[in-house]
């Protein structure tokens, strides 16, 4: 068996139910696309989803390895999962997005079309326009994976609260350090 270098794809839906994403990630076509890109493992955090992904992948890439699949519902912190991943596929929640960007991981954000008020997609689209992540829909995920060029991604410089706090202090008449 021996040691092999693991390249993990971490899929997260946060606290939401996003069966459409989990289903598409569970499909053989997508797993094939991930294998072609050199990924070895798939870890799915399913949240409140009702669709249970299979843990087996019968797919082989060039006859040797297949994608190792694991899944779980929730965990108190996904920071470690993100840290160990080579690629993150996430729902469009701002928490997941910024946590991943802060950790400097390549990110594909998948927008949930079933959500009524989809203002969430504004954030993903804006960050995609700035080349900080890739934006996809469940139906287009496979094409996005096949076409993605990780070198095109620009690192995201995290923001900070200091400028806002300085303005607040100034307004209240406090000396601004």
């Amino acid at each position: 068996m021996g040691d092999r270098e693991r390249r993990v794809v971490f899929v997260t839906v946060g606290t939401t139910c996003f069966d459409a994403l989990v289903k598409v990630v569970d499909s053989e076509e997508l797993k094939q696309a991930l294998l072609q890109k050199g990924y070895t493992d798939l870890l799915i955090q399913m949240g409140r989803g009702t669709y249970k992904p299979s843990k087996l992948s019968t797919l082989q890439a060039s006859g040797n390895s297949s994608l190792q699949v694991e899944h779980f519902t929730f965990s108190p912190s996904i920071a470690d999962n993100i840290r160990e991943a080579s690629l993150v596929i996430s729902h469009a929640g701002s928490g997941s997005i910024f946590e991943t960007l802060r950790l400097g991981k390549p990110l594909i954000v998948v927008v949930n079309e079933d959500l009524m008020d989809n203002h969430q997609s504004e954030l993903a689209e804006e960050l995609a326009e700035r080349n900080h992540l890739f934006c996809a829909h469940p139906q287009t995920l496979r094409e996005n994976v096949e076409a993605m060029d990780l070198n095109a991604l620009q690192p995201y410089v995290p923001g900070e609260a200091k400028p806002v706090v300085a303005l607040i202090n100034r307004f209240l008449g406090f000396p601004v350090d």
């Binding site: 701002s94 203002h119 504004e122 954030l123 609260a161 806002v164 303005l167 607040i168 406090f174």
Partner: protein, 168 residues
């Protein structure tokens, strides 16, 4: 919100009252963990500078708008009670509808000359092109003393808003 709080000079902004919606079970624990981390060192001078409160929501996600009239009324009364009790000099709010009854109550007291709260509103970072309903209300009714947005496009669309970068 915690991004702002961690950056504030604690001795200037004290005591701190954290208010979250009754059905929100994640926000207050986060604040409690943070406040706990501030208590350090000298055992004799542990000062309880923070209180944590919950407020009725005006309307739950998916609730019918008819019943929302009654629940909004309840939220407004509850908010009035909290504002009168706390008499804040500064209010920081960041978007959930929870803040509207509180800001409205504080604003009303201001108008009646019964109390003064400076209201600072920080729109969610997820709002890039459009304001949230809470943000829109506070902006149009000019209830906030300072109104922060986290994307330049919003600042252009709403000129009285301030853009000082993103918090995350």
């Amino acid at each position: 919100m915690m991004n702002i709080v961690t950056e504030l000079q604690k001795d200037r902004f004290t005591p701190r009252y954290y208010v979250a919606a009754l059905t929100d079970n994640m926000s207050l624990p986060k604040a409690q963990v943070y406040e706990k981390s501030l208590i350090h060192g000298d055992r004799e001078t542990i000062i309880e500078n923070a209180e944590f409160m919950q407020i009725y929501r005006s309307r739950e996600v998916g609730q019918s708008y008819i019943t929302a009239i009654a629940t909004t009324l309840r939220a407004i009364l509850h908010a009035m009670w909290l504002i009168i009790r706390i008499r804040p000099q500064v209010i920081f709010c960041n978007g959930p509808g929870t803040c509207i009854p509180l800001c409205a109550s504080a604003f009303l007291l201001k108008v009646l000359g019964l109390g003064w709260s400076s209201i600072f509103y920080i729109e969610s970072i997820a709002r890039v092109k459009k304001l949230s309903l809470s943000g829109l209300l506070l902006y149009k009714l000019r209830m906030a003393d300072q109104f922060f947005v986290q994307w330049p496009q919003l600042q252009q669309k709403y000129p009285r808003a301030q853009y000082a970068g993103r918090l995350m």
